[in-house]
């Protein structure tokens, strides 16, 4: 088993006023295989977003190291595309232009024709052809997030990082986007790390679910293998013993072993 993305003893300490410090996450060791889909789940404040930001390079680990494809991560880069929770599309650019901007920057060698083809390919991948000339303010939250995914994938990242990508959406739209993501994953393999607080989402989408203990000094509590065949169907899974086992394992972790008092 080759290591693709490797987290070794990762720790993040935030300085507090008056010389104090806050240890957000500590001693995180995780080995992620290529084309694996990982969910990181935990109560709010467990440092899961901090962890993702460190992989993205937007935040630097104060101890330990993160290695992607034999290269240590020292800063942000397009090989680790991020889908942010609030989509972060640039509102002054159309759907097409938002994706084009990213492709243009990361693949400057493309001819104008190749650039156009590539942008269209990813717009089609998320079924957004009719909305391609609309501004983000004119499309729904679910569509915005699809553009966010298309933009992230269009730059051919080695890892796709998703920070509670569907957290701000209603449950039906969320289900729809999960289907989108699974279908894309079926066609084009990607290594994906999803931050979530949704148990069903974690089981449905992932090969492994990483469960985080509560902060401060949060770390990996348990790792759950989800042994479900793909493509997965959310309806029939409801009665699948493996699905039920995974759900129960996460439930028990979050609400028995590491229940959060005030939430």
């Amino acid at each position: 088993m080759s290591k693709f993305l490797d987290l070794e003893g990762v720790e993040k300490v935030f300085p507090l006023p008056k010389g104090k410090e806050y240890v957000a996450v500590t001693d995180v060791n995780l080995h992620i295989k290529e084309n694996e889909i990982i969910s990181i789940i935990g109560h709010s404040g467990c440092g899961k977003s901090t962890l993702l930001n460190m992989i993205a390079g937007l935040d630097m680990a104060t101890d330990g190291g993160i290695i992607l494809d034999n290269k240590e991560i020292t800063g942000p880069g397009p090989e680790r595309a991020v889908v942010f929770q609030n989509h972060s599309l640039l509102p002054w650019l159309t759907v097409y232009q938002n994706i084009e901007m990213a492709v243009k920057k990361v693949m400057p060698e493309l001819s104008p024709k190749e650039l156009k083809e590539r942008v269209y390919k990813f717009i089609e991948m998320v079924n957004l052809d009719p909305a391609k000339d609309k501004y983000p303010g004119e499309i729904s939250g679910g569509m915005k997030q699809r553009v966010g995914i298309a933009r992230a994938l269009s730059i051919k990242p080695k890892v796709l990082l998703m920070d509670e990508p569907f957290g701000a959406l209603d449950s039906l739209t969320r289900a729809n986007l999960q289907e989108h993501l699974m279908r894309i994953q079926q066609n084009v393999k990607n290594t994906v790390i999803i931050i979530t607080h949704d148990i069903d989402e974690a089981v449905l989408l992932s090969d492994r679910v990483i469960m985080m203990t509560n902060g401060p000094e949060a770390t990996i509590g348990e790792i759950l293998e989800v042994n479900l065949e793909r493509p997965r169907d959310r309806v029939s899974l409801q009665h699948d013993p493996e699905y039920i086992r995974c759900r129960e394992a996460i439930l028990s972790f979050l609400y028995e072993k590491y229940a959060k008092e005030d939430e």
Binding site: A56, G57, L58, G75, P76, G77, P78, R80, A81, V82, F84, N86, S88, L90, P91, W92, M101, A102, K105, V106, Y135, G137, E138, I155
Partner: protein
């Protein structure tokens, strides 16, 4: 066919006018020498005034040129506008880069902010003697006075625009490894442009306020000087005309600036 909304927009201000004109007439009765509405009308468009004198209206031929010192109102206003735009252009050229700088750099902000806060409330009339002493020239003095009093809203609003750039957009720039220049042109400027235009709009308003005062003190030509000159000639109705012209031109300038600002504002582009 006039819509009800259009009608409303015409009728309501007209009703206010019906109150204003009698109030003005009353004021002219109480205050000695205060120009009446009818004398002001005559002074503007020509005719016989209340004293029985034949008057040539100052608006009946705004384009006349008698000599260098005696020109129609159009030329007076044009001259003022030229100075305003010169000072305003200078304020934009320097204000926007300075605003970008202090918006992006905390150090520049800390270093410059006290001076901005102190110089911002200084009246143009306080600058004028100093600048007149420096330049010894009417035009240069008026333009530099406008520059130094109208630059502040541009700096402050530009900096505010830069600061209002969403952290998420900057993260996008980071992930895509934008160069600093790309960050400015592709992320910061699109967000900041509406703020910059708000600053420019405020700045132009100030510039137009300042020109009248500056020209009164520097003399020569210009709408401000014209008003002062009419005061010295005891042509009081013309002062009222001057005030109305300054108001109307200021309103038009603000409207044009507002239109331009909307055009560049992505939140209003649909």
């Amino acid at each position: 066919m006039l819509s009800l909304e259009k009608l409303r927009q015409i009728v309501l201000p007209f009703l206010v006018l019906m109150v204003l004109i009698p109030a003005w007439s009353g004021l002219a009765v109480i205050v000695e020498d205060f120009p009446t509405p009818s004398d002001t009308y005559v002074a503007a468009f020509g005719g016989i005034n209340s004293e029985g004198d034949e008057v040539i209206g100052s608006l009946s031929d705004p384009f006349y040129i008698e000599n260098e010192d005696d020109k129609g109102l159009f030329w007076q206003v044009l001259n003022s506008l030229e100075r305003v735009f010169a000072g305003f252009a200078l304020a934009i050229a320097i204000g926007i880069p300075v605003g970008l700088l202090i918006g992006m750099s905390k150090n520049f902000m800390t270093a410059l902010n006290p001076y901005i806060q102190i110089l911002k409330p200084v009246s143009p009339l306080a600058w004028l003697p100093l600048l007149l002493m420096v330049f010894q020239d009417i035009n240069a003095t008026a333009i530099s006075t406008i520059f130094i009093t109208s630059i502040w809203p541009i700096i402050i609003n530009t900096a505010l625009g830069v600061k209002s750039v969403n952290e998420d957009y900057l993260n996008v720039a980071k992930v895509l490894c934008f160069t600093p220049l790309e960050k400015v042109t592709q992320i910061i400027l699109p967000v900041a442009v509406p703020y910059i235009f708000t600053g420019m709009r405020l700045s132009l308003g100030i510039a137009w306020l300042v020109i009248v005062a500056a020209e009164m003190l520097t003399g020569g030509i210009g709408i401000g000087f014209w008003i002062w000159d009419e005061y010295n000639n005891l042509n009081y109705p013309n002062i009222v005309i001057g005030i109305i012209i300054v108001g109307v031109v200021g309103y038009i300038l603000d409207m044009i600036m507002g239109r331009i600002a909307d055009y560049f504002d992505y939140t209003k582009r649909r």
